[in-house]
Symmetry: C2
Subunit: 337 residues, 2 copies
Amino acid sequence: MPEINASVAVADLLLTRSDVLDAKERLAGRVRRTPVVRSEDLDRRAGAQLWLKAENLQRGGSFKLRGALLAVERLAAAGSVGVVAQSTGNHAIAVALAARELGIPAALVLPEDAAPTKIRRIREAGAEVVLAGTVLAERIAVVEDLRVIRGYDVVDPYQNPDVVAGQGTATAELLDQVRAEGRRLDAVVVPVGGGSAVAGACLAAAGEHVAVVAAEPSAVPALTEALRSGQPVNVPVRPTIADGLRPDRIGRLPFDTCREALAEVLTVDEAEIAESMCVALTHARLLIEPAAATALAAALRLAVAPRWQGRNIGVLLSGGNVEESLVAALLTEYAAQ
Amino acid sequence: MPEINASVAVADLLLTRSDVLDAKERLAGRVRRTPVVRSEDLDRRAGAQLWLKAENLQRGGSFKLRGALLAVERLAAAGSVGVVAQSTGNHAIAVALAARELGIPAALVLPEDAAPTKIRRIREAGAEVVLAGTVLAERIAVVEDLRVIRGYDVVDPYQNPDVVAGQGTATAELLDQVRAEGRRLDAVVVPVGGGSAVAGACLAAAGEHVAVVAAEPSAVPALTEALRSGQPVNVPVRPTIADGLRPDRIGRLPFDTCREALAEVLTVDEAEIAESMCVALTHARLLIEPAAATALAAALRLAVAPRWQGRNIGVLLSGGNVEESLVAALLTEYAAQ
């Protein structure tokens, strides 16, 4: 199995917290400083203080704009003729928006079963959508073709250092915002797909005495299996509603970062993800996508442990791009309970 | 027809903008400074810049905590043995929370068809719930009984000056927050039930060159009819999903304020309210209750007029206390369109 997107040689790169702080400065005023939402209902349910970083309210509907803006900006400044990226959806939306803002073309490679909402948003941003297979390797092959044929630059969602540092700014902001309330987070729970969010969180939290906890669907335990194997491995892809967390292999850079700095990884099942999406809606009045609900589900599970009871737990609500019909179906079931 | 809650003599009172600014100081750090949410999707749909004041994320799930805290605080400081209030729900939740925080008992009088979610929240705050009829006059009679029998102080939702000034702080904050982004609102759209929100908005906006626009369901056009008649009148109560806007008569104080300062009142039908609730969910990723959706529906209608195209329009998303089953049903219908 070739390394993911070998065309970008970053496997040896070590990022640090200062890269995230630099990214935060570069992004100032260009992305939304999304609110941290509290809910007494949710805290009561959790038995802990939950601080919800509402990146579902970010431009483009997810935190991915942070990393994409920085990466595409650097490429555009270097004279790029266009960018190409593969994604299960949110990174693609983010790259499309960033490319439009920076005035260069973008082609985005998504799985054939990508969420229609996400495809629509990419096209609305004026970018080209290419659908390719259902697993990561198939998308990567198409990205490589577009790179060679068109001379486009690849914006890797898990390996690009600008992307990882940029995603880390969501956690850095959360830490700042909780501190501004006179509190301190004991842990932050972050969803894992390809790994950029959790790697960014590990960097942002370095030296802050905050436990970084990763959350992934038990259907696609790419990080759990990588940690068990001592290296990124491909896991069988089983169906999950968390379409944003479908990558079947964790990136090398995220893996190396997690191996160093991660406190824990929790897997949650589909029922927990579905319920947490409804809980976010009814308790915190936020529409989040299943990937974000995966983090909330893990936070609720984490809070049950005596050592976390009553503690301050941050949750990265990574995005809010979700099909209306899915929300309607899950909520109908939830309301009938 | 007796004046609403004649036991509180405020009909002659004139509030001013400085009362709202005083209220803002008294509330500092005690209520949430709720975020102002933006959505490119929504702006595109509206053809204007919408600034959504997300009071659905306020403690207690609505902006009503603002006024209730101030009113109950003043009564508690004066040695009150308990408070009583009538409400379609959100004012009751707010008074219950305020009474708990200030350590005095509270009895809340709601219509028999009040939203179960709202009743549950009041009981969770440790207050007593009394259900009485379906129209305002029936609830007021029960409030008067409790006042006389128990010696409780009435916290009128539409007439109490602390309540009206407190509710105005939501609009005052919104104006500050938009200003902090280097912009200026041209209009602010506020839902009308008994009228405290719109009266507070008129006070907050005085001298700010912001048009205050009221929104009410066409099923219960209490303000429209009052303005037409030159005084508060009872209107027939027809069914509306906007349970928070069911009062069949506007308060005297709100009416007097609106007559002076209101730019416009728009009525919206049930289909527009239902659709706007789904639009808020899918475009702005916020769960709002139908009362808040009434304001959003009016803002979307307002923005169609040439004079408002491209302008900056604030919307008071007053609350987020809504039945899960209603959201599920409306969203199922919306997704099928």
